[in-house]
C-alpha cells in the first residue's frame, strides 16, 4: 500500500512539474496567425487543404509564384518557354539556391520532386491532378528542366504555384521525414512543430531573395471554435485570423484596434442534384429547384451578407467567368409551373446531405423549397461521414436515397478547367471525382475538353461562356453563392493578403 501511495505522489509531482515547464514562444517579433484547423502535413505534395497550404507557404517555393495582384512571376525558375505544340516547356532554374537542409536546388531536385508524384505507388495526396496532364520531367543540364505534357493544358503555369509543384528537399523526402519536418527553399524555415499546439517558423537568413521582409518568427495556432478566434483577436493572442467568422464581422469593423479584410473568394457553394434519381433526372425539376431558391436570402441569413449570389458555376475571380448570366431569379410561381409540367403538381419529397457547418443552408432550403411543394429532408453529417456518403456511386446513393449533397468547390484563380472538370465532366462522376450528382452531358464534355486544349485565352474564355450557359440550362446543381474571403488582423498588421479561395500569405507581414 505504501508503495502505491508513494508512487502516486511521485507521479503527481512529476505531472505538475512537467506541466509547468513550457517553451517560451511569443515575443514582440512574432507574428501570431490563427486558422481553423491544424496542418495536415508538412509536405505540400501530400495534402490539399487550403489552410495547410497557407501555413506551408512561407517555407516552400515553386518554379513560379503568384504576386498580390494575382499575376504569375518567376520564383525558383527565372524564365520559361513553350514549343510550338504547347506540349514541351523549358524552364531555366535560379542558380545558387539551397534547401533549408543545405541540399542544392537544381534540375535533379526538380526531376525528383515531380517523379515522386508520377510514381503511383507513393500515393501522395496531391498527385492526382498532376498525373492527368503531366507526362514527365527531365533535366537538360543542372539549371534547365523540360516538362512534357500529355495534352495542351492552359492551367499548367498556374498549377506550378500549387502544393504538388512546390519544391521539397529531395534529401528530406528520401529520408521520409518531410511529412513531419518541412524542408523547402522559402524565406522562412521550420523552427518547431508541436503537432498539438503550434508551428513556429523562423527567418531563413540564407534565402536567395535577400533578407525576408516579415517578422522574425511566425507562429501558427488553430482552433475550430469561431468565438475563440474572435476572442483571440481581441486579446491580441492572434495578430491574424483566417478565415474570420462572418458572425463576428460587425464587431471587428466597429473596433478601431482591429481590421477586417474582405476579398472576392473563389469557392462556389451549391447543391449537387442526383441526376440518376427520380424526379431529379428531369431537367425541369432541377430548374424548378433553382427558381425556388432565394439566393439573396441565403446570403443575408447565412453569410451575414459576406457572399455573392451565384449566377454561374464559376466564381467571379475565375478566368472566363461571365457576369451577364442571370438564369434563375427567385420565382416560386415559375418553379411550381415547371414542376406541374414535369408531372409533379403537388411537389415531391427528396433528401440532402450536409456537413454540420453548412447545415443552416439545408434548413433555409427546406423552408424555401416547401413553398414550391418540395419536401426536403436535411441530413446533417459530421465531415468524415459526409465525405463517405457524398462520394458514393449511383447504386450506393440510390440505396441510401441521397437526392442531393450540399458542398462547395474552389478552383481558385488556377483556371476554369479545375472547376468544370471535377464537378460536371462525365468521367468525374463520383466516386472517381466530385461530380456528386453523376451529371453527364456530351455537349458539355466536349466544351470542357475543347477549352482545356485551347491555348489562346480569349478563345478559351469564349468556350467557357458556352460551358457556363450549358451548366445553367441543364441545372445539375442548384448554385447558391460565392463566399467572400474574410480575414481579420490587429490594426497595425501590414502586408498580409489572401489568394482567392482563402490561402493567406503572411510571409511579408509586419505588425
Amino acid at each position: 500500500m505504501t508503495m502505491f501511495l508513494k508512487s502516486r505522489h511521485f507521479a503527481l509531482a512529476c505531472a505538475v512539474a512537467g506541466s509547468l515547464v513550457f517553451p517560451v514562444a511569443a515575443s514582440a517579433a512574432t507574428l501570431n496567425v490563427m486558422q481553423t484547423e491544424a496542418p495536415r502535413s508538412m509536405d505540400p505534395g501530400d495534402q490539399t487543404a487550403t489552410y495547410t497550404a497557407a501555413l506551408l507557404d512561407p517555407m516552400y517555393e515553386g518554379l513560379v509564384k503568384r504576386d498580390p495582384d494575382l499575376s504569375l512571376k518567376p520564383a525558383l525558375a527565372t524564365e520559361w518557354s513553350a514549343d510550338a505544340s504547347g506540349l514541351v516547356w523549358t524552364f531555366k532554374l535560379r542558380p545558387g539556391v539551397k534547401f533549408h537542409d543545405g541540399t542544392a536546388f537544381d534540375a535533379d531536385a526538380v526531376v525528383k520532386n515531380f517523379a515522386r508524384h508520377l510514381d503511383t505507388k507513393r500515393g501522395l495526396a496531391a498527385s492526382g491532378r498532376l498525373r492527368t496532364f503531366l507526362e514527365g520531367v527531365t533535366a537538360v543540364d543542372p539549371t534547365t528542366v523540360q516538362f512534357k505534357l500529355k495534352t495542351q493544358y492552359p492551367a499548367f503555369l498556374a498549377l506550378l504555384t500549387t502544393g504538388p509543384c512546390l519544391m521539397v528537399s529531395p534529401t528530406a523526402d528520401a529520408a521520409g521525414t518531410v511529412g513531419s519536418k518541412a524542408v523547402g527553399t522559402g524565406p522562412y524555415k521550420l523552427q518547431e512543430y508541436k503537432s498539438g499546439e503550434y508551428v513556429i517558423q523562423a527567418k531563413n537568413t540564407d534565402w536567395w531573395g535577400g533578407a525576408p521582409k516579415g517578422e522574425d518568427l511566425i507562429k501558427w495556432t488553430w482552433t475550430a471554435e469561431p468565438s475563440v478566434m474572435n476572442m483571440a483577436l481581441q486579446t491580441g493572442d492572434a495578430d491574424v485570423i483566417n478565415p474570420f467568422p462572418a458572425a463576428f464581422a460587425a464587431q471587428v469593423k466597429a473596433n478601431p484596434e482591429m481590421k477586417l479584410s474582405t476579398t472576392d473568394g473563389s469557392a462556389v457553394f451549391w447543391v449537387s442534384l442526383n441526376t440518376k434519381l427520380k424526379p431529379l433526372d428531369d431537367v425541369r425539376v432541377r430548374q424548378a429547384l433553382n427558381y425556388a431558391t432565394d439566393r439573396d436570402g441565403i446570403v443575408k441569413a447565412f453569410m451575414n451578407g459576406y457572399a455573392t449570389p451565384a449566377n454561374s458555376p464559376l466564381a467571379p475571380v475565375t478566368p472566363g467567368y461571365d457576369k451577364t448570366l442571370n438564369p434563375y431569379p427567385y420565382n416560386v410561381e415559375k418553379a411550381k409551373q415547371l414542376l406541374k409540367e414535369a408531372g409533379y403538381p403537388d411537389g415531391f419529397a427528396m433528401s440532402t446531405i450536409v456537413q454540420e457547418q453548412e447545415s443552416r443552408i439545408g434548413e433555409l432550403l427546406q423552408a424555401m423549397w416547401a413553398k414550391a411543394g418540395v419536401k426536403l429532408d436535411v441530413r446533417k453529417m459530421e465531415g468524415g461521414v459526409w465525405s463517405k456518403a457524398a462520394f458514393q456511386d449511383p447504386a450506393g446513393k440510390e440505396k441510401d436515397n441521397i437526392g442531393s449533397s450540399i458542398a462547395s468547390w474552389s478552383s481558385g484563380v488556377n483556371g476554369a478547367d479545375l472547376q468544370f472538370r471535377p464537378l460536371y465532366y462525365t468521367k468525374s462522376a463520383s466516386p472517381a471525382g466530385a461530380n456528386l450528382g453523376f451529371f453527364s452531358d456530351a455537349k458539355l464534355d466536349e466544351l470542357i475538353d475543347k477549352a482545356a486544349s485551347t491555348l489562346d485565352e480569349k478563345a478559351r474564355n469564349a468556350i467557357y461562356v458556352d460551358a457556363q450557359r450549358q451548366v445553367n440550362e441543364q441545372a445539375p446543381h442548384v448554385l447558391l453563392y460565392t463566399k467572400q474571403d474574410l480575414f481579420a488582423t490587429r490594426a497595425s498588421v501590414k502586408g498580409a493578403w489572401v489568394i482567392p479561395g482563402g490561402l493567406i500569405v503572411v510571409k511579408d507581414a509586419k505588425k
Binding site: 505538475v16 500515393g123 503537432s195
Partner: protein, 306 residues
C-alpha cells in the same frame, strides 16, 4: 490483500485487450474513410486507393488488429496518419498537460466540494444547505463548453486577468482547471452531504455528543472520516467522466493535452491516434479505480478483499 492486488494486476492486461479490441472495431465501424479524408475531396479514386494501401487499410481487419496489438505490447502504438509522428511520442508530449489539468481540477473539486458538502450537511435544510445545493445542481447541469466560453470572455477578454489560450504559464491552468472542476465539485458536494448526513445519524455520533466532544471534532474526526469512503469511490468512478470533460475543455482552451488530440484525430479518422489515446485513457481510468479501491481499504480496515 496481496492476493487481491495480484489478481487485479493480472486482470489489467485482459481488460486492456478487451478494450483495445472494442475500440479497434468501434473505430472501423464509424462511417468515414481516412484515406478519402487524407487524400482530400479533389483526389481521384486512384489517389484514394493508393492512400488506402499506404495506410495499410487494405489488409484484413484481423491482420490490422494483430499488427496493432503486437506493436502496442512492444510500446509502439503506430504512426499518426496526420502528423506522421510516432503515436507514443505524441501522447507522451501531451499526457503531462492532461494529467496536470486533471489533478488541478480534482484538487479544486475536493478542496471546495468536501467542505461545501459538510456545511450543507451540518446546516441541513438551513440556508447554507440550500445555497450549496442550488449551486451543486447548477454546476452539474451547466455545459462545460458554454462555461468555458463565458469564463474566457469574462476573465481574458473583458478583464484581461488571465491568458486566453494554450499552456504558456501557470496562469494558463486557472481557467481550464476551474471549468473542468465544476462538475466533479458539484458531484462531490452532493455526495459529501448525503454521506455526512447518514453518518451523523449513527449511534456513535450521538454518543460523542453525549460525551461532550466539541462539534468541530465530531465533524472532522468522527463524521468525515467515515463519510469519506463513498466520496473516494465517487471520485474514483468519476475519473472517466472527468476525462470526457477534458476533451471539451482542452478543445476550447487550445490546451495541448490528449483530449484535444483525440478530437482532432476523430475528425481525420486518424485510427492509430484514436486507438492509442483511448488505450492510454482507459488504462488511466482502470489504474485510478484500482488506487481508489486500495485507498478505501487503507482507510477502512474493516473491508477485507477476498
Amino acid at each position: 490483500m496481496k492476493a487481491y492486488i495480484l489478481k487485479k494486476l493480472l486482470a489489467l492486461p485482459l481488460i486492456l485487450i478487451g478494450v483495445s479490441l472494442l475500440v479497434f472495431v468501434a473505430i472501423r465501424a464509424l462511417p468515414g474513410d481516412p484515406a478519402r479524408l487524407m487524400a482530400g475531396p479533389e483526389a481521384t479514386q486512384e489517389a484514394v486507393d493508393n492512400m488506402t494501401v499506404r495506410l495499410g487499410l487494405d489488409r484484413s481487419l484481423p491482420a490490422q488488429y494483430a499488427s496493432f496489438a503486437y506493436g502496442a505490447v512492444r510500446g509502439d502504438l503506430g504512426t499518426s496518419i496526420k502528423s506522421k509522428l510516432p503515436v507514443v511520442d505524441e501522447i507522451a508530449e501531451r499526457l503531462p498537460f492532461t494529467i496536470g489539468l486533471a489533478i488541478t481540477a480534482y484538487l479544486i473539486a475536493i478542496g471546495i466540494g468536501v467542505p461545501a458538502g459538510m456545511i450543507a450537511a451540518i446546516y441541513r435544510h438551513g440556508w447554507p444547505d440550500q445555497i450549496v445545493m442550488i449551486l451543486a445542481i447548477a454546476g452539474a447541469s451547466i455545459a462545460n463548453f458554454w462555461l468555458a466560453l463565458m469564463a474566457m470572455n469574462t476573465f481574458s477578454v473583458q478583464l484581461g486577468w488571465l491568458p486566453l489560450l494554450g499552456a504558456a504559464s501557470w496562469k494558463s491552468f486557472i481557467l481550464p482547471s476551474i471549468t473542468l472542476a465544476v462538475l466533479p465539485t458539484a458531484v462531490i458536494a452532493r455526495m459529501t452531504r448525503s454521506s455526512m448526513i447518514e453518518v451523523m445519524s449513527q449511534d456513535y455520533i450521538r454518543t460523542a455528543y453525549a460525551k461532550g466532544v466539541l462539534p468541530r471534532n465530531i465533524y472532522w474526526s468522527h463524521a468525515l472520516r467515515n463519510a469519506l469512503l463513498p466520496i473516494i469511490t465517487i471520485v474514483g468512478l468519476n475519473f472517466g467522466s472527468l476525462m470526457g470533460g477534458a476533451v471539451v475543455t482542452e478543445s476550447v482552451f487550445n490546451w495541448p493535452g490528449i483530449g484535444r488530440f483525440l478530437v482532432d484525430a476523430v475528425r481525420y479518422r486518424d485510427y492509430p491516434v484514436i486507438q492509442g489515446v483511448t488505450l492510454v485513457a482507459v488504462t488511466g481510468v482502470v489504474i485510478i479505480n484500482f488506487l481508489a479501491e486500495m485507498l478505501i481499504a487503507f482507510l477502512n480496515p474493516k473491508i477485507r478483499f477476498d
